[in-house]
Subunit: 228 residues, 2 copies
């Protein structure tokens, strides 16, 4: 069985706040860390703690600056590739949950590094290192609504590669690679809520693919991308 435990009581996060400390306090209130726990943290609080917010009366200018390339555009909707390689609406620039009216929140510069810092801080506090995922809500081609995905990971491989293993009938699976980091982010979103102050969740009972991967492995390489 897997448990998804919301981490509550985290105050509004501001630039230079000790986010790992705030998360650790919330983990403590939830009963502490266990071996194998996955901590999913919403990008918004990571960005705020890292000062990745700015005041702007021209959001489009910020979006185009944050974008490495624009993939599609219709009116105010801009689908762009970020400097990290992620393709998402507004290059990840967001006005909701910004610190003040007229401010926007940008993606962390290096979300894997953000995850790694949180992982290390919690490891030294609790004596056990959680897997950490930084999540954000992305839209999808052809489907309505957002789902949360992983934009940063520490302490796991984000993809579970089952190629070469057997299906239930003994037939070798040909092309099954599962984006488990994205599925963990999506699972955590079910307790995060956009409008309430629950910016993180613990997932307990799931065994992540071992290794030291990067969320950039979740980005389709250009040579395999049919949708540039």
């Amino acid at each position: 069985m897997i448990r998804i435990i919301p981490l509550t009581g985290i105050p509004e996060v501001r630039a230079d706040d000790d986010l790992a400390g705030l998360l650790g306090d919330a983990v403590e209130r939830a009963g502490g860390l266990e071996e194998g726990d996955v901590l999913v943290v919403a990008q918004k609080v990571v960005s705020k703690a890292e000062g990745r917010v700015e005041e702007s009366d021209d959001v489009l200018e910020v979006i185009l600056r944050e974008a490495r390339s624009v993939r599609r555009r219709r009116g105010e909707l801009v689908i762009a590739e970020t400097e990290h390689g992620f393709v998402c609406a507004s290059a990840g620039v967001d006005r909701s949950n910004a610190p003040e009216e007229g401010w926007v929140v940008l993606l962390p510069r290096d979300p894997d590094a953000s995850a790694a810092r949180i992982r290390e801080a919690l490891a030294s506090r609790f004596g056990v290192a959680p897997t950490v995922i930084v999540s954000d809500s992305f839209g999808r081609a052809w489907r309505q609504g957002t789902t949360d995905v992983a934009i940063g990971v520490a302490g796991m491989q984000p993809l579970l590669d089952l190629r070469g293993t057997k299906d239930g009938r003994g037939r070798t699976l040909e092309s099954t690679v599962i984006a488990v980091a994205d599925e963990l982010a999506a699972a955590a979103e079910l307790v995060l809520g956009k409008a309430e102050r629950v910016p993180a969740a613990l997932i307990r009972g799931y065994s992540v693919p071992a290794g030291d991967g990067s969320a950039r492995e979740l980005v389709m390489p250009p040579e395999r991308d049919l949708f540039t």
Copy 2:
């Protein structure tokens, strides 16, 4: 807290098997149903129980027959729109976990109806009606790996529409619609596993958006689709 409970001990499913009965037995072994439970069932067993399998030495012919339109193609990889409106690889036609070598599994003709039949059968057996989601593993544009999504639902609205509600700072959210049915499917996949015989899971502790929706609401309508 949300719990994701794998449903185990379900035998290989064949055409005309009483799938709802097999799922009900597994639910009983897991301790029964509770009010608000969400039952996620892998498409593969739904299709098999409904006889949506066939022998074919020309998978491409089956894919093109099942497709309403082909969106992209490169070698053996065909991204197609199904008759339901879903856009996915091979129009949902799959060789892995097929009943025999040389056979393929097709999507259910009406996955919402499949979900509704399971929901009704379990409601009359347990006296409480679970939300039911039929899930399948879809690839995504721009991202590597599959995540499970909902292709059929019964007893919920698949989208959680937060437009008009407030963020943590009291600012009205402009465009937040969350594909919670897809997130529930992704969460369940974490315990399903492709190669082991765990074709279903119960999710407990999540309050679904109430209503009688259809998974077709998850399909981007053509006038909003930037990626045809």
